[in-house]
């Protein structure tokens, strides 16, 4: 980016005073750091300067005397003399302001930007009192919608090109561009092609005037009514820093804060607008979502979800909330009071009664069938503190280890913690990034922006190993298409000589020998370095229809051959890393220690710990359904914000498991098919209603800010755990989040010394990577942030985690070190060993296609489903296959096909896509089409299978 500056220092004179700048730094930024703010509109520190608004003109000395120059476009030179306040500068700046107002409407009283508008502010501060412009202003049709989320008022536009530059240079999708010339220049989309970028909200945020407004925010509040806290977005696990604003106990807006190690000020639209789900606004739903109930033997049997649950699972969500239902019903989408099933229906009750019922059932389950009969699913939506409290309750008090924060869509926790971890900055500074993950733009959108930036503006090269083309394919130096099940072999062959056996596949190889050679070159050891030095592997789940063991085996091949490589785990659920860190995974205890290694330590501190390793999500559901390795061993289920009926990759198994459970208690903020099926529902506080911390993909822990009081009787998760423990006759020992924080710091090895004081004392707004000292940083110099984009966020000047690098020492001895008595605290990572077994992948048969299921940003998950502005953006599911394979069954793009797997069959439209390898069928996960299943992919997938094969039949 243009503000790329090195550590070399240059000296210049700023308004008569000596000042310094980094070599290459723009005058406007150097002046700002020296305390002189130069007004500006078009300049944005995270984008290339264009120098068009001319607001930042200052006088700069030169060979021909002082001239007016745009300070955003002049790099500070040694000895340069700069005058930012001369009469000439003032007249020029006043002139620019006056020019900007020539065609600008005087509609500040009804403008969303009124009250936080730099144009308005600067006009008050510097501008001429009265307008000398008496002519007719330029007129455009007042706001036009350029997407579902963004409105454009061209009359207010000052042509600064911030939005168009963002779209092209940052997001890489120029769906908006300037049109016209001169005075008539306007921002425009192409007819019929809206500004559908996942990042469109950023343009609203960085627009210096009210030209771009967001439909969800429009007219909801005026800036001066707003109250804000800084927090971290937990929509995905990337950890973008946000300013959360509310008015009258309703969230009104989220703004991205420029966190140098994380989001650079950007947010994705889901993260920005999903706050609506917290408000619990009523969502007019379309036709009720449906899930398919089908078995291998059945023909397609598509039943509306609500009806199917009414039949096989119990009451529907409409019934407990007491609303009328119709095909286009209106449902309030927050759970606000405890519910207990009575006479087959969920009815509101008191916390006391609800907790009593839960304690009774779980207690009975434990005493009758053993601790292992209780399965706990979910936790990735909890705060770190909530996750710890639940880990302590589940593992310490209830004694079960069958606890899993991931829903069969992640990676083994041992793998996540066992591989050398990379930070985001390290990934973006890597010479080669290996992508072995789903589509990053769909799953971790701002990571996509960061990686794209490091490829287009930095020196990073991408090597993609993916079953389908992704948003990053276009930026990849090499993109190796792989069929499901083949990634271990491909990974092995890019780090070793010799052609992979896949080249012998009946459908032929999915990439060329040249691509393979190019991939190998990207991974070649640097001169004098170890193999893998400078390599970061972004490791996620390329497909939910492919078992995690396949990806794990591929990762193992890379890790083994590339000892210098680091791994950035790309799991996407909000606080999944915090949940794993806090021990919400089978075989683990808080602080990255194994059950075996930490049992004594935690048993001493907690008064108990599981005796034996438990089951993961797949195992729990299988056991409930009477299958798998331990059929029937699990009888009760605790859902921590989890909705396996929608979200678990194997819908069939989830339906059977929940149907077979003796007792289901759901802790949740929003109703879902799974809460509708529960016996007890405990209402929980959700994002922006809680205090505590969250952990992102690189292990960075940052503070959550509480902006709202939870509605009705909803409680924070940790409180629910604490109260439930009381009902079970135990005491977790927490009176507040502070107690939790101290206990975690004292007990969890990876959090040693991570007391609240550390986070607060250092004023680490960007959070800190745990274990402390692990933040290796990259030594990037923090840059001044954009005051236009984050009006009123006061801490921006203090940002820049790089400043803290090296300052952080684990503050040993703080907290409550005596908690675990005489036990010796296990080391971070103690006992965390992972072993990747070569998965057994059946040979493909020539009649089948291998299924790939990938995530979409907007899906039918409850967060989007309860955000009115986002529901409309959820795409319809389509199946994509290579034209060759479609040809074979006589189908073409747009035709409907029947897809049959071991789990069932569904009907779907197909698209011919040359970017899908032959022999592969790609279907989006957690989206449906029309009246079909809500999650078509899940109705085809068999959990635990290394690969899922499907057969295709044309219905045309």
């Amino acid at each position: 980016m243009s503000s790329a500056a090195t550590d070399e220092t240059v000296h210049f004179v700023l308004d008569g005073q000596p000042a310094t700048a980094r070599k290459g730094e723009m005058l406007i930024a150097a002046a700002e750091r020296a305390g002189t703010f130069i007004p500006r509109f078009c300049y944005h520190p995270r984008m290339k300067s264009v120098g068009v608004c001319r607001m930042c003109l200052v006088e700069v000395s030169g060979p021909r005397g002082a001239t007016l120059q745009p300070s955003c476009f002049v790099a500070v030179g040694e000895g340069m003399e700069v005058d930012t306040r001369s009469e000439k500068v003032k007249k020029a700046q006043d002139g620019v302001l006056e020019f900007l107002l020539v065609n600008h409407p005087l509609d500040c009283p009804v403008c969303d930007k009124g009250g936080e508008c730099p144009l308005q502010d600067q006009t008050f501060a510097y501008g001429p009192g009265e307008s000398r412009f008496i002519e007719e202003k330029r007129h455009f049709e007042k706001p036009i919608a350029i997407s579902e989320l963004v409105l454009l008022d061209r009359e207010r536009c000052i042509q600064c090109s911030r939005c168009t530059r963002f779209a092209e240079d940052v997001a890489g999708e120029a769906q908006i561009d300037f049109a016209g010339r001169g005075e008539l220049v306007e921002v425009a989309t192409f007819p019929g092609e809206p500004f559908s970028s996942y990042f469109s909200g950023n343009t609203v945020q960085i627009c210096p005037v009210g030209a771009l407004t967001a439909t969800p925010y429009r007219f909801t509040a005026r800036p001066w009514d707003l109250d804000q806290v800084e927090s971290t977005c937990t929509t995905c696990s990337f950890g973008c820093r946000v300013a959360v604003q509310s008015s009258a106990n309703r969230l009104t807006r989220l703004l991205g804060i420029d966190s140098d190690p994380v989001n650079h000020g950007w947010l994705c639209d889901k993260g920005r607008f999903v706050f609506e789900s917290t408000n619990g606004d009523e969502v007019a739903t379309g036709p009720a979502p449906a899930i398919a109930v089908a078995t291998a033997a059945d023909e397609v049997d598509v039943v509306p979800a609500t009806a199917s649950q009414a039949v096989s699972l119990g009451p529907t969500r409409g019934q407990f909330a007491g609303e009328a239902r119709s095909d286009h019903s209106v449902v309030s989408n927050r759970l606000t009071e405890p519910l207990v099933r009575k006479g087959g229906e969920l009815v509101p009750t008191s916390w006391g009664e609800a907790l009593g019922v839960v304690a009774e059932h779980l207690g009975a389950s434990k005493s009758e069938h053993g601790a292992g009969s209780i399965g706990v699913l979910g936790g990735a939506r909890l705060t770190n503190e909530g996750a710890y409290a639940w880990a302590k309750l589940a593992k310490g008090i209830l004694g079960t280890d069958s606890v899993d924060a991931q829903l069969g869509d992640g990676l083994p926790a041992e793998l996540v913690f066992g591989l050398p971890r990379a930070t985001i900055d390290e990934a973006c500074d890597a010479t080669t990034v290996v992508l072995l993950a789903g589509d990053v733009r769909e799953e971790l959108p701002v990571l996509f922006l960061r990686l794209r930036d490091s490829v287009t503006n930095g020196h990073t090269k991408l090597l993609e190993i993916s079953p389908v083309r992704t948003s990053l394919s276009a930026y990849a130096a090499v993109s190796l298409r792989v069929r499901p099940g083949d990634s271990p072999a491909v990974a092995a062959s890019v780090v070793r000589e010799g052609a992979p056996s896949l080249f012998a596949h009946p459908e032929g190889p999915t990439f060329s020998a040249e691509d393979l050679a190019a991939a190998r070159a990207l991974l070649a050891a640097p001169e004098g370095g170890r193999p893998g030095d400078g390599v970061v592997v972004v490791l996620g789940r390329p497909s939910l229809a492919e078992g995690a063991q396949v990806t794990a085996a591929a990762a193992a091949a890379l890790a083994e051959a590339l000892p210098g490589a680091r791994f950035l785990p790309a799991l996407r659920r909000g606080n999944v890393f915090g949940a794993l860190e806090m021990g919400l995974a089978p075989g683990l205890l808080p602080g990255r220690v194994s059950l075996d290694a930490g049992r004594e330590w935690f048993a001493a501190a907690w008064g108990g710990a599981p005796e034996a390793a438990g089951l993961d999500a797949d195992g729990i559901l299988s056991a409930l359904a009477g299958e798998g390795e331990a059929p029937g061993s699990v009888t009760s289920l605790v859902l921590l914000g989890a909705d396996p009926l929608t979200d678990f990759p194997d819908a069939d198994l989830a339906v059977r498991a929940l149907g077979a459970a003796d007792f289901v208690v759901a802790v949740a903020g929003h109703p879902s098919p799974s809460t509708a099926h529960a016996d007890v529902v405990l209402p929980a506080a959700v994002a922006h209603e809680r205090v505590g911390t969250t952990t992102n993909i690189e292990g960075r822990v940052s503070r959550l800010g509480q902006k709202l009081v939870p509605p009705g009787q909803a409680w924070s998760d940790w409180m629910i755990a604490a109260e439930l423990a009381q009902s079970l006759g135990a005491d977790l020992g927490f009176g507040g989040v502070a107690d939790l924080e101290s206990e975690i710091a004292a007990l969890a090895p990876s959090w040693a010394g991570f007391t609240p004081a550390v986070l607060d004392h250092l004023g680490a707004h960007d959070g800190l990577v745990v274990p402390l000292g692990a933040d290796r940083g990259t030594g990037r110099a923090p840059i001044p942030t954009d005051p236009i984009a984050i009006p009123g966020v006061e801490s921006v000047e203090h940002q820049g985690a790089a400043l803290w690098v090296g300052l952080i020492e684990p503050l040993a001895g703080e907290g409550r070190p005596d908690l675990a008595g005489a036990q010796e605290k296990p080391a971070v990572g103690a006992g965390v060993a992972w072993r990747a077994e070569t998965p057994r992948v059946p040979a493909p048969d020539s009649y089948s296609l291998r299924l790939v299921a990938t995530r979409r940003l907007y899906d039918r998950g409850s967060a989007v489903a309860s955000s009115p502005s986002l529901v409309a953006l959820v795409p319809d599911a389509v199946a994509r296959a290579n034209p060759y394979d479609l040809d074979r069954i006589g189908a073409t793009s747009g035709d409907r096909v029947r897809i049959r797997s071991a789990r069932g069959a569904i009907e779907l439209a197909v698209d011919a896509d040359v970017h899908v390898a032959r022999g592969v069928l790609a279907v989006d996960f957690n989206v449906g089409a029309g009246d079909g299943p809500a999650n078509v992919a899940a109705s085809l997938i068999e959990a635990g299978a290394a690969v899922n094969d499907v057969r295709l039949e044309s219905l045309a």
Partner: protein, 434 residues
């Protein structure tokens, strides 16, 4: 036609109907210059142009040889010929493009060889349909003749020439906007520094941009030697130059005159040139070098047609176009029309130019149509001053390119030379010229 005995350098073949054909061109010694250049070293060719002291004919008047030699320190990747000619009342490149395209092509090839550039683009404004066809034909014929392509005339030097049409935007004549346009973008000028074409030009590579007339001089210079060219004219203004004369003269047209040896009076009044003011009227004012230039009054007609002479008098020879306005001309209307041009042609990047041009145009229109107020004159000048601080010549600017500070030229000239006329408009609430 010429008043001095200088040879015609770029218009020698213009008289004939088929002056644009290869056959006619070869008959008149066409491509001899290229043959000769190819027999010399590139350095020697450049030295010859340097010696000629050929000033760029696009408007800025920078010596071509110097531009090249500055550049030849670093290798140049592209040569771009500016045939966008859109400055109002400028129509000399039009003539060269349509009437002698091979001369242009030969010039381009000589320059390419001197700069050792293998890829040249001739950017021609889109409205010159005939010109585009003729230059394209010339390029085709030159290929066939062996003058373009691989190993031209067996010299080992290879070059490709692409004729690129514009699509109607004055600003694309500005060299950095032209480069943007050639890259397939809106013609938004780039900021200099750092985007001097020589440093970061087409596709980010070092690029030389030269005007059509500048190029058309090269065959003669190589054939006759730089010294012969430098021997014509006076001082820095060497050689001959095309002057486009229009407005209220009996005989408007393009005239090739030895530089600095003739005056505006000669050009406007000489029977073989402009032939005097039409309709028995008198000269009221004239624009000496394109509408970006400040105007002159009748008392300045004896200035020599030389770059420095005009600059010293507070204006510029610019694109070499002279517009004569006679006593029947409404100066408010003239200033308004020119300002309207800038308002329509501002690219729209810079706030002062985009908004200022429209504002000024509206005020002038209001005055011309009877709605003027006395304070409007100060307003016009102050708004102009906010675009070009000091309202001096050469102008200072608050904008990226010099289109912005060109806007005030005619306004400032009209108000300072014809303030009374403005006041009459305002007092009478109407245009006195009807």
């Amino acid at each position: 036609m010429a008043l001095t005995d200088a040879p015609r350098i770029v218009t020698s073949r213009m008289g004939r109907d088929d002056s644009h054909t290869l056959g006619r061109y070869l008959e008149a010694g066409g491509y001899d210059g290229l043959h000769k250049a190819l027999s010399m070293t590139p350095e020697a060719v450049a030295a010859e142009v340097d010696e000629a002291s050929l000033l760029g004919r696009g408007g800025a008047g920078f010596p071509a040889g110097r531009k090249w030699s500055m550049l030849r320190k670093a290798p140049v990747t592209y040569l771009v010929i500016n045939g966008d000619e859109s400055e109002p009342a400028t129509f000399k490149d039009h003539l060269l493009i349509e009437r002698d395209p091979h001369q242009l092509v030969e010039g381009v090839l000589i320059a390419a060889y001197a700069l050792q550039v293998t890829q040249a683009f001739i950017y021609i404004r889109g409205e010159f349909a005939l010109g585009l066809e003729r230059v394209t034909q010339a390029v085709n014929d030159a290929y066939a003749h062996g003058a373009i392509g691989s190993d031209i005339f067996g010299s080992g030097f290879s070059v490709d020439v692409v004729v690129h049409p514009g699509a109607g935007a004055y600003i694309c004549g500005e060299e950095t906007a032209l480069i943007e346009s050639l890259e397939g973008k809106r013609g938004f000028p780039r900021i200099k520094p750092p985007f001097f074409p020589a440093v970061i030009g087409l596709y980010g590579e070092p690029t030389v941009v030269n005007n059509v007339e500048t190029m058309s001089n090269l065959p003669w210079i190589i054939n006759n030697g730089g010294a012969a060219f430098a021997g014509l004219g006076l001082g820095r203004s060497t050689g001959t130059r095309l002057f486009a004369l229009s407005g209220h003269v009996r005989n408007p047209g393009v005239f090739e005159l030895e530089m600095a040896k003739t005056t505006f009076r000669d050009l406007i009044y000489a029977p073989t040139l402009g032939g005097g003011i039409t309709g028995g009227n008198t000269l009221k004012a004239f624009i000496p070098g394109g509408v970006s230039a400040p105007w002159f009054g009748p008392d300045q007609v004896d200035l020599a047609l030389g770059q420095d002479e005009v600059a010293e008098a507070g204006s510029m020879l610019g694109s070499g176009s002279i517009v004569a306005m006679d006593s029947s001309t409404c100066m408010v209307r003239a200033a308004w029309r020119i300002t309207k041009f800038f308002s329509r042609e501002s690219c729209g990047q810079c706030t002062p130019c985009r908004e200022g041009s429209g504002w000024l145009e509206r005020v002038l229109y209001r005055i011309e149509h009877g709605g003027g107020r006395e304070e409007d004159l100060d307003l016009l000048l102050d708004v102009s001053d906010n675009i070009s601080p000091g309202l001096a010549w050469p102008p200072q600017q608050t904008t990226i390119c010099v289109l912005g500070p060109s806007i005030p030229s005619s306004i400032n000239s009209a108000i300072s030379m014809f303030r009374d006329e403005f006041l009459v408009h305002i007092k009478e609430g109407a245009c006195p010229y009807g």
